[in-house]
């Protein structure tokens, strides 16, 4: 096994910093968890399967209540449905009519999430244009919004306003001049992958064992009872066992597959949703648009980009090989064009696709299915004790769902602690931060400091201290270098993620740090980021080349479905740059039709 280079100074420093200050939980043991051989069997109280928002939220709640927990995720934290969501902590105006329970839960929990992780949340004001031929006239829309206003205080949202046509066009000149009037309403956005990671990292800080790229391949049974799982590390190929009193199946759209390992059936109606991501902000406000079939969608500013979506279609395909189709792209753009006629002039740099683990319901359109959630005790329902499943739900209500699930797990374990997840801040959310001072102290540009704060909150200074001391560095505090200019991402943050957050592959950086998902799609930053991680994690040259190839293949895969306009020239340049920079190790397989395009990094045997 390739042990990280002992001469890597950054790692030694991080190791020293952590010595004796943390329980030897999985993720935060600064690379130690990779060094030590994995014990053949790990024993714990609860094994959580799935590191999406629900799994991470449940692991955190359990850890906060002092329960020993292990969390395994077969890819990267949040890399399934959570990351492909709209990334909004929103109330769900849509559900007011049929599912008001959902709206209430989401709004209340949005308020909680704001309190515990204010740095991860950002306000997204929405603008809803009303056109003459809309099925619902402005008066009815306003009634709905007035109802929704009553939920806004739960999430510190502002009440709606009504704008005249002129006022709306002044606010957003790109709007279609056909509109009659417009309404504004208030929602919140979130970096969903970072929210997952924050929950998982907090759990690890409190003693949980968190492992990514680790998949459950079978469940351990004892007569009818589930007593744990056998897992496989996708990167090293090692297999080992986790014994647990209870197993929590939080695998999202993969949960039926996990349930089947116990011979059980949990029915879902998986609903696929895609988003188009523009390489920059297209508008200041989120703008509603109506699809050809009457569905509501929007183009909304999100972090450094704008996103357009989403769709909702029954999905029957392979969850691990999901592609975005021409139809989906055309459907979304057609809808956006009605509200923003110039939308096609903007460059879509990539698409995201994910599947909602929607509760099963027969005979209804995807949109009309309930967004409520369910916690299933398979002991009570199916006579298979030791296994629980959580299905359905919305990102915005994750904390509430986790509380409910954890209550039930704790009842079974006989643990009496109360839930504290609504009051306890997530890592970084403890206090505000003077970003200007941070920028001055570490001599890093203000935009980079700000983005770092958005991801790490009050822990940002700790991150910047990880700046790689390049060999023979003169200044005592090395100055962070900008690796990804689009975000921006500093080398310090990469090293911190590798050594202190258990980041394992270059592709994980797209989610954890938003590396290479902007205009350049990694063309300008992936190779440099790979070098920085190679130093931190001790990758060989071959592994570094493999990581880079996998990363760029993924960026290509998500850029090509919406290929149009200026994006073609961008892809031409990115490809020329990548192929032009290949040497003998990565090879030049472009001439021979190579079909393999792994969605996740293939099993890599570290030499």
């Amino acid at each position: 096994m390739n042990s990280p280079s002992a001469s890597c100074p950054g790692k030694a420093k991080a190791d020293a910093a952590c010595e004796g200050t943390r329980p030897s939980g999985g993720v935060c043991a600064t690379g130690r968890w990779r060094d030590t051989p994995v014990r053949r069997t790990l024993t714990t109280q609860v094994l959580v399967v799935g590191g999406g928002i629900n799994g991470a939220g449940i692991a955190r709640d359990l850890a906060l209540r002092g329960v020993r927990v292990a969390l395994v995720e077969k890819g990267e934290l949040g890399g399934g449905t959570s990351w492909a969501s709209s990334g909004m902590i929103h109330g769900g105006l849509r559900y007011l009519q049929k599912d008001p329970q959902v709206t209430l839960h989401s709004c209340v929990d949005s308020g909680n999430i704001q309190r515990i992780a204010p740095h991860l949340i950002f306000r997204i004001p929405f603008l809803m244009p009303v056109f003459r031929d809309d099925p619902i006239g402005p008066e009815l829309v306003e009634i709905a919004l007035e109802m929704y206003d009553r939920f806004q205080p739960f999430k510190r949202g502002k009440p709606h306003t009504r704008l005249s046509r002129e006022q709306a066009l002044r606010l957003e000149p790109a709007l279609s001049p056909q509109l009659e009037c417009a309404f504004t309403l208030d929602e919140w956005g979130v970096d969903a992958a970072r929210l997952c990671a924050a929950n998982a990292l907090d759990a690890a800080d409190r003693g949980a064992q968190v492992r990514t790229h680790t998949e459950v391949i079978s469940l351990l049974r004892d007569a009818g009872r589930v007593r744990g799982a056998r897992v496989r590390d996708g990167i090293t190929g090692e297999e080992w066992e986790i014994e647990a009193e209870l197993v929590m199946n939080a695998a999202g759209p993969w949960l039926p597959k996990v349930a089947r390992l116990a011979g059980l059936e949990v029915k879902l109606r998986p609903g696929k949703g895609v988003h188009l991501v523009f390489e920059r902000r297209v508008s200041d406000l989120a703008i509603y648009a109506t699809g050809i079939d009457g569905r509501d969608m929007f183009t909304f500013p999100h972090e450094q980009n704008s996103m357009a979506g989403t769709t909702d279609d029954d999905f029957y395909g392979d969850l691990d090989r999901m592609e975005t189709t021409e139809d989906e792209v055309a459907y979304v753009l057609q809808a956006m064009e009605r509200s923003i006629p110039s939308i096609r002039r903007h460059r879509v740099c990539h698409v995201t696709a994910g599947v909602r683990p929607t509760l099963f319901g027969f005979g209804r359109y995807e949109d009309e299915l309930s967004r409520d959630y369910q916690v299933i005790d398979h002991g009570a329902r199916d006579g298979v004790p030791g296994l629980f499943t959580i299905a359905g739900g919305k990102l915005a209500a994750y904390r509430l769902m986790a509380e409910d699930a954890t209550d039930r797990l704790c009842a079974r374990l006989g643990v009496r602690e109360l839930c504290r997840t609504a009051q306890t801040p997530l890592p970084g959310g403890e206090a505000p931060l003077d970003v200007a001072a941070l920028s001055r102290r570490f001599r890093v540009g203000w935009p980079a400091a700000l983005r770092l704060f958005f991801r790490h909150g009050a822990h940002a200074p700790r991150v910047l201290e990880q700046s790689v001391p390049t060999p023979f560095a003169e200044p005592a505090t090395p100055v962070p270098r900008i690796v990804c200019a689009c975000e921006p991402v500093t080398d310090a943050e990469l090293v911190h993620a590798a050594l202190r957050e258990g980041l394992r592959t270059l592709t994980d950086c797209s989610l954890r740090l938003r590396l290479g998902i902007g205009a350049c799609q990694g063309a300008s930053c992936a190779a440099a980021a790979a070098s920085v991680l190679a130093e931190a994690l001790g990758w060989s040259a071959e592994q570094t080349a493999h990581e880079l190839a996998t990363f760029l293949a993924e960026r290509w895969r998500v850029a090509t479905p919406a290929l149009a306009g200026a994006q073609i020239a961008a892809l031409e340049l990115h490809r020329a740059a990548d192929v032009g920079a290949r040497g003998f190790t990565r090879g030049d397989r472009a001439g021979r039709g190579s079909e393999d395009s792994p969605r996740r990094s293939a099993s890599w045997e570290t030499a």
Partner: protein
């Protein structure tokens, strides 16, 4: 005869300079930067291997690397729709190969002559490739290279010192060294020793998050260059580094920070200070001044040869039957929206592919921008009007039809219509806009640009002679 060249990349500029040297009146219209300005520092004319792409670049017995001359011959034999086939013939016989090698030698000499006054030379030849390192440690076999990277041939070096500059982004010396070692293991040639050496530059030299472009710009100032030279000299005198090889057998590899002009003079000073060979890595985005150096040197050459350069975008071309009459330009200089009309008797299209704007997407399909000329991929299948997403694969590996498509031409470099006949009597095309090859994987991008640019110029000159006769 009034000739207008559209496009100021290597193809357009080479054509304009060749025409100017034959005393013809040339106007060159440039809309901005394209692929040439984004190149990395090498000029490849031959494909990497007999299959046209893919490595290794070895002969059948796998004992040695193929010479550029041999690879060029292989390209002529196997790639029947490559522009080289148009230029030099499709026969497998020696005639095509000797025509090609003569053309390459003459083209390289012309380009060297044009660029030399800007401190940029063209080094290399068809007998042996240079193995050059890029900024991330990949090794490329380059047929020709420009001053800066050109001196960095890893073959024949016993020791390679990789300079580490504190705080420079996009450059990590130790992973670079490890990558180079792995590359040589993959190549199977005797390996130089690789060592990382510090290059202490004064405080304030590296700023702005380590931006490589900012550091490169500093060495364009005398003060900045002197600091770099001093740092290099200090390393040379540093006895703690032990006994080292002298002269040609030691190579100091710098990150791509040698600025945007006057590279030859800078390297001379650095070589003196270092007591050994000094070279720059090949670039990779965003750390690649080489392309901008080339573009700058070409612009300087155009200016010296009194070629009129208009900074404008061509909106449309006016035609009467099969003759093009004039161009309608939108100036990039003026702030007004007025169009200008420029008359022309011969037009050369050298605007590249998507990056340069020669190809674009319109109403859901790809098209040639100005005249909607039919486009063909490497297999000869017509592709204009197809959606871009259907012309690429889900994986970046494998042939991508979108990036091997372009205009089809006759042997005189006149673009052909669907019926296989030239569409216009006075229109020529050069550079990447010609289809039938993939500039990225086949690595012949700049080679095609240079050779077709010069050939188009001689065809246009021949046309002028015929007209005046």
């Amino acid at each position: 005869m009034r000739v207008v060249v559209i496009g100021s990349g290597l193809a357009g500029a080479a054509a304009a300079l060749e025409l100017a040297s034959r005393e013809m009146k040339v106007t060159l219209v440039s809309a901005g930067v394209g692929a040439t300005a984004l190149s990395f520092g090498s000029l490849d004319v031959a494909v990497p291997s007999p299959e046209g792409s893919g490595l290794p670049l070895r002969d059948a017995t796998a004992t040695r690397l193929l010479a550029p001359r041999e690879r060029l011959a292989a390209c002529l034999r196997t790639r029947l729709r490559h522009p080289y086939a148009t230029l030099f013939g499709r026969s497998g016989g020696g005639a095509a190969e000797s025509a090609a090698t003569d053309a390459v030698k003459s083209a390289a000499a012309s380009l060297d002559r044009w660029l030399a006054p800007s401190g940029l030379r063209v080094e290399g030849g068809l007998d042996a490739a240079r193995l050059l390192a890029n900024v991330h440690g990949a090794v490329r076999a380059c047929d020709f290279a420009f001053t800066g990277p050109a001196e960095g041939d890893l073959q024949g070096a016993a020791e390679v010192e990789i300079a580490a500059v504190t705080g420079l982004a996009q450059h990590d010396a130790r992973p670079l060294a490890r990558a180079l070692a792995a590359e040589f293991a993959a190549i199977g040639l005797p390996r130089p020793s690789f060592r990382v050496v510090p290059l202490p530059l004064p405080a304030g030299f590296v700023v702005d998050g380590g931006s490589p472009a900012r550091v490169a710009a500093r060495t364009d100032t005398e003060e900045g260059l002197r600091a770099l030279v001093a740092a290099v000299a200090a390393r040379h005198r540093d006895e703690t580094l032990g006994r080292r090889a002298e002269g040609e057998r030691r190579l100091l590899l710098l990150p791509p920070i040698l600025g945007f002009s006057g590279v030859l003079a800078k390297l001379t000073r650095l070589r003196e200070a270092a007591g050994c060979r000094v070279a720059e890595c090949l670039g990779a985005p965003p750390a690649s001044p080489a392309g901008l150096r080339l573009a700058g040197a070409l612009a300087a050459a155009l200016s010296r040869e009194s070629v009129v350069v208009r900074h404008a975008r061509v909106r449309t071309l006016e035609r009467t039957g099969r003759q093009l009459r004039a161009l309608r330009l939108q100036s990039r200089e003026a702030s007004s929206n007025t169009e200008e009309r420029l008359e022309a008797e011969v037009i050369l299209l050298a605007c590249g592919r998507f990056l340069g704007g020669g190809l674009s997407e319109h109403e859901g399909g790809v098209h040639e921008t100005l005249l909607d000329l039919p486009l063909y991929d490497e297999a000869g299948v017509r592709v204009d009007g197809s959606a871009a997403s259907r012309l690429v694969r889900a994986s970046p590996e494998g042939p991508q039809r979108l990036f091997s498509s372009g205009v089809r031409t006759d042997s005189r470099l006149r673009p052909l219509g669907a019926d296989g006949e030239p569409l216009f009597e006075n229109l020529f095309v050069a550079g990447d806009l010609i289809g039938g090859f993939d500039p990225s994987t086949q690595r012949t991008g700049l080679g095609v640009a240079l050779l077709t640019g010069l050939r188009a110029a001689s065809e246009i000159a021949r046309l002028a002679e015929q007209e005046s006769a």
